[in-house]
Structure formats: structure tokens, C-alpha cells
Assembly symmetry: C2
Homo-oligomer: 493 residues x 2
Amino acid sequence: MTDSWANFKAEVGADLHLDLHGTGAEPGSEAGVRAGTGAGARARSGLRTGLRDALREAVRTGRLAPGTRLPSSRTLAADLGIARNTVADAYAELVAEGWLTARQGSGTRVADRAAAVTRKPGKPAHPARRPATRPALSLFPGTPELSSFPCPEWLKAYRKALTAAPYEAFGYSDPRGRPELRGVLAEYLARARGVHADPERIVIRSGYVSALTFLARALRARTPAARAVAVESYGLDHHWECFRSAGLRIPPLGLDELGARVGELDGMAGVGAVLLTAAHQFPTGAALHPDRRSAVVDWARRTGGVVLEDDYDGEFRYDRQPVGALQGLDPERVVYLGTASKSLAPGLRLSWAVLPEELVGMLSPHEGTSSALEQLALAEFIDSGAYDRHVRAVRLRYRRRRDDLMAALAAHAPQVKVTGIAAGLHAILELPPGTERSVIRAAHWQGLAVEGLSRYRHPDAPGEGRDGLMVGYATPTDSAWAPTLRALIRSLS
Amino acid sequence: MTDSWANFKAEVGADLHLDLHGTGAEPGSEAGVRAGTGAGARARSGLRTGLRDALREAVRTGRLAPGTRLPSSRTLAADLGIARNTVADAYAELVAEGWLTARQGSGTRVADRAAAVTRKPGKPAHPARRPATRPALSLFPGTPELSSFPCPEWLKAYRKALTAAPYEAFGYSDPRGRPELRGVLAEYLARARGVHADPERIVIRSGYVSALTFLARALRARTPAARAVAVESYGLDHHWECFRSAGLRIPPLGLDELGARVGELDGMAGVGAVLLTAAHQFPTGAALHPDRRSAVVDWARRTGGVVLEDDYDGEFRYDRQPVGALQGLDPERVVYLGTASKSLAPGLRLSWAVLPEELVGMLSPHEGTSSALEQLALAEFIDSGAYDRHVRAVRLRYRRRRDDLMAALAAHAPQVKVTGIAAGLHAILELPPGTERSVIRAAHWQGLAVEGLSRYRHPDAPGEGRDGLMVGYATPTDSAWAPTLRALIRSLS
């Protein structure tokens, strides 16, 4: 018996004893255990687990040093007043796990390499975590009003879907997603967005990044010579990153009030695809001009390229009916990308893509999709009309907020020009060159988190950047909306 | 007016008229529309949508040829007995979408490039689809008994979680997943699997492939010189593919009855990680020997390598307590991978990884995770004890099935040796060399789908392959179990 064991026993022996007999077994109840009754078996299992965990922890933390010889199971059992098999079983488990070794002739010892794992003292947990001092109000774009999530209706749809689900829905399913949802979506997208959607060509993904990651891989495999995907010169870096990490370049297209300058595609080498937010450019807010819609589809037909249409907020257009999806013009050349993140909630992680036939076959059979149960719930939610009702209701709320924003600006900051207001969940306040940073700082002082346009600018975008403020007016809760608007106005003056 | 329009009108004019007036507007109700009442606005919206969709469809299918000039909105409105603005709005939408063009002086025409999209006649929808003639019974491994999914308890947890969820749970969240689930899992994994789990280091993914894809990327970025991940010489090809598609080689380790021969790692060049199914090798069923557990952790410490521990079915061990996770031996060197796919249902798409600290920081802030609502539901499900109850209940069922299998084999096919029976959801029936295919064919004739061991063999595995039958005894429903077992016995004789 080494010092290490003696110390361990001295320090924690009493606790261990107490723990062991506090697990549901009366001291002395080993008779019941040996008799093999159900209650006895459970009690013994508790004793074994308690002993095992206490020993493992002692080895892990180094309290029992490597090489320490443990008492025989008979000795320890007598010492603790429990059955010998209980100790032997605990030892055997720890041997199987590699904490202890058992060798003929040398007894049971703490394994040599099971040295104490020293953990570095608490580092900042994750780089993505926001600082603790963030402002209380926020106009960060990209999120719908989260408190408007229709909990009772969603729960009703989930319950109904779960109850009606066939057994196979709980298993590994079609990598495209559930057929029920693909069928309902095909009908919905045709009706609401003019998408030419065949359920066989719809794939459900757990978010845009997942969809873009698949597309990046598929595009590379499809046209190995095309090593670039053109993107808009303002957009989301983490979308661009999906292409970059697949080894694709991302040359930027210019942007003006008619949307992306798709004519520039003709001068670009090796471009196999272009990513466009055609209905409502993110973030600048322009709708792609009809001539450019035609031109980009022409480009795709002429060059064998693919258009990726990011229709992230196509359901939200306020002053006239939505512009239908570009995809309808040529479903063999345009990939349509949609999501429930703006219309319902990002937390659901439900996105979809409508693929040209040639890309459907490139989906790996083991490609991940999202939860089958929530896919069935969304199918039921759309099919019952709850989705349409929800979109109508929140569209009205967002439209009112946009009107509030316009009225407040007209009254208190008439010098500020607003763009991108016809659709979506955000507007752009144009700022005089060189003032973006100071306005963002001023907002921060007002307790308002707000983003500038410049952080969405492509690193290789030509010419001067634009100064502007992104106003994600869907983000605040109803009760925070009025103070948020006041803080915004104060930051502008 | 060209022939194309005249033909279109002759063919579908009557239908269109009927459709338009069947959308909720009474013929002649345009007065109400003009008066701007709510009901009138809705009716007009229905008329516009109907006209727009009929026209779009006609252009799409080629019934209205490119260049066709459409009647003026005034003419068509009079013709259909509806308001002129309704027609003008429908035209404007189709112009915005690119189907029509409107030019000063030449009126509204069908756009030149909006040619009919001809779709290839119905190809087989998806390569992953199984043939229609598949057998009615199945012993394919990898799936729990789907009819045992605890619907009422899960629904209860989902409802409770949804009701209690903070608003921010519906938004974009921590890329590691919900803190509620990570906290509960840390406690559960420590208790049930001996995992040294810190909630800050747990990441939730929508399935193993998603987790392995992240790990492949992180390992490449971490050690650019290490261009290989060693794997077991029998395993799942779609897991290996995650590494291959990240540009990593996958040299195979030999396998024997003590598990993977991890000693071979020392002779391999450029290996930065090793993927192991330590508790229950998939598919051969061996548990990694304690000496090898120590040896592989030693290897990782010595070389700076990483062990990826795939603990896919660690909760299912029948004849003794589970072997605790390897990860506990050194959380800074071992990544633990677990999943709800075997314990609950693959359809949930819920997996988790416990990462060494250095890998946590490599998670991109926009990495996709799975549905926040189902993460909260699983947290509640575990926390309430329902998860433990469910695992205990199905473990008992699977154990009975395994015993049925052993008894049936002993009685009717005593020559067949069975391995890998101590744990998991499948067993291996060893077959004489060269007989695997014929047994699978015989099973097929008995209406039983069953897989051979050889399809899990690494393409570069050295030596002779083993012949064997994979028996996924968890797969059949309760009512199918007896006939499935009979079909298996018949195929073996």
C-alpha cells in the first residue's frame, strides 16, 4: 500500500463510505444484494457506480498517483462493509476503461499513463460570444421579431405531425428531406414566389450555410475548370466563405440602384456560377432590374453557368406585390434558395433549395438534412394555412415599423436619405462619406447596437465604399421598438 | 395581335375567365374593389394573382410565343370584365419578373428569352432511392426500432421546452448549440459514459456527418503537415468520405478480437488523428482492449495527434456495465462523439461532440447547428429522466432480441459462430470464406434484406476479407421480429 492510497483514503474515505451508503442501500443490506432481489441488485449497482466514480475521479485529479497499488477487492470490501463482487466489478470497469491495470502477481494499480489531466484555467469560452457590455437596444439586421413566433400554432402543427408520422420518418431518410414537406413547399413556392418547383428537386437543409456548402462542392465537381463564383460587392461574408473554403474564388460584381451589374460576368474568367439576392439585394435593398434578370439567365444559358438565387426575404414586400423568383425563368439554370429564418425563426434551422436536375443527383445519400419531425411540422403548418396567416400578420407589423421609421426620420432627421424600403426587414440610411463610424459610436452611447454598411463590403470591391447605417427594424420586440427608434434619431442628430 | 395570343385566348380564355371569377370575387364586384373596401381589395388581389399565374404559365409552357404582343391592359380588362388596374398590375409583375417586356411604343410583349422550359422526361428521381422490389423484412444495421420512439413523452418535453424558451432561442444562436442542452449533456455524459465534459466544450450538430465534416476541416487547419486520419479497416464509408473530401488520406488500421491495432499508428506517416469505435467496434463488435486504449492515448500525447472516439451506441451493453468512454483518459487529446440516433431516433438529427479546448475555437460562428427547439426538448427530455427511462426500456428489448437470436441460432444453425453480441444493436454471424454473397441472395429469396460484412471493408485493408452477415436485430418492428428471425434461419440452412 503506497502513501498515495493511504492519503486518498484518509482524505476521502469517510466521504466515500458515506456516499456509498447514501445511494439507496442501507448499510448492511448486502444480504439483500446477495440474495439477488431486484431492490438489492439496484442497491448494489448504486454502490458499484459510486465506488467506480470516486476512484476514477481520484485517478483523474491525480489524488491517486500513477503506479499506486490498490488494496485487494477483498480487503477494500471488508473495509467498506460491502460485497467483494461490488468492488471487483468497479475495479474491472476501471481496468476496461484504462484507468487501472490488473496484472497477475502485481495486483491492481493506477495505470501509468492515466496521469492527472490538468486543464488550462478558464479561457474565454468562445470567440463568437458577444461582450458583456453590449447595448440593450438593437437594430442589427437579419432577424425577425422573435417574440412574434407563433408558439401555439407551431405546437399544434408539431403535435399533429408527430401523431401522424409514419415510423420510417424517425429513421434515416431521403437526403433531400421529407417528401411531405417537399410536396407542400413545391405548391407554396409556386403560388407565393412563382418558383417552378418539382418536389423531387427540392432539398431541405439545416440553414443556408449547409445549402451553400453543398452547392459549392457540387459546382466544383460539375465544372472543374470553373474555379470562381461571382458575388455581389455587398453581402454576407459567411456565405462567401462557403465558396472560399471549397477552393473557389469570389470575384465581386458592381452594384447600383438597378441591382448587381450582371453584365460584368462576361469579362470574368472561370466563373461557373453567380450568387444573387435578386428580389431584395442584401444589404443595399435594390431589386434586380428586369433587363438584368433576363441578362443573367442568358449568361447562364450561353456559358453553361448557374445562377444561385438567394431569396431570403422574398415574402416581405410592402408597397406592391412581391417580384416573383428569377428561378421561374429557367429552372435548369437557376438554383432557388429559401428559408424559414426570416418568415418564422432562425432557430428552426430550416432552409430549402430548388435544384436543376443535374445537381439533384450530386447530393450524397448521407448528406445531412434537418429534423424529420420539424420538417413534418412545417409541412402541416404550411398546409393548414397557418404559415400564410403568420406571414401576413408579421408583414403588416413590419410595414408599420417601416412607416414609423420613415415618419420619425422625416420629422427629426430630414437630411437622411433612406433606401431599400420597399421590401425586407431592414432599410439603409445613407450617410455622408466618412461619418459611418461616428454615427455607430453615437448610437452605442445611446445604448443602441447598430451596424454600418461597410462591414458587408466585399474586400475586392472596386471604387469607394458607401457610408450607411443598416436599420433592422424587425429586430426589436414590440415594447423595445419606440425607445429603439428614439435612440436611433438621437444618434443621427 | 399575333396568332399566338389569339390561340391562347381561344384555348384558355374561357377557363381564365372562370378562374378569375372563381377566386372569391363576384363578377361585377369591381365596384367594391374600386371603393377600396377590405373585401374588395382581397377580391382584386385574387383576380390579379389568377391572371398573373395564367399568363406566366402560358409563357412558361410556350403557349404564348416569345415576341407575342399582348392586348393593352384597357382592352383585356374590358374583355374580362375586370378593372384596368388589375390587368396593369399583373402585367407589371410579369415585367418585373422578366416574363414580359414593356417598351414605350411597342406595348407589352412576351420576352424574347423566356422560351419554353422543356424539362427532360422523368428520370429516376434520386440515386439514393431504393428499388421498388426490396424485401419486406430487414435486418439492415444502424437503426433503432423506430416504433419504440416515445412519442407522448417527447411531445411533452417539446411542449414544455417551447413554452419555457426565451425569445433569443428562436434567433441565431451560439454555433455550439443551446447552453441548456450542453449543460444537461455534460452531466449525463459524465454519469453514463464517464466523459469528462465541460458544457463550454460541447457542440451540437445535426448528425455525425456534420460533426465529422467540421472536425476534418479543423484538423487540417490545426496541423497542415498531417494529411491523414487513420481509420479502422472495417467501418462506414460515408464517415471516411468526410475526411477524403477535406483532402485527407484515410490509411486503415488492422482489426482483431482486441479491437483496432493502434500500434500500427507508429509506422504511419503524416497521421494527425485516428477515428475509433472504441466501446463497440462498428461493424465487427470488439471492444478496444484496455492496453490499446492506453496505447492510443499515449500515441496522441507523444505525437500531438487527436483521437476521435465514435461512441455511437455506448448506451447499449448487455452482459455487464458499459465500458466508459476513452475520452475521460485525456480530454485534451480525445474528441468524444455521441448521438441520439441509436438511443432515440436518427430522424431527430441530433449529435454531439466534446472537444479539446483548442478545437472549440476553430468552430466558425456561422457553423450550422440543429433546431434550437428540439435541442431544448432534448434537454428537458434528459433532465426529466425520460431519456434514462427510455434507454433502459429499449436496452431490455434489444437484449431480449439478442437472446432470441442466440437461441434460434443455437437450435437451428449451431454451426454459425456469432460475435459482437455483448453490446450495440447488431451482431455478426461469421460465414465460411466465399459464402457471404450466396447467403445474402438466399435471404433475399426469403424476403429478408440483410447486409454482408464485406461492404464495410476498407478498400486498402490488408490481407483477406472476412465473410460475415450483419444482423441489425433492433431494426424490425415488434410484429416483424418473429418472421424476420425465421427468414434468417431459413437463409442459413
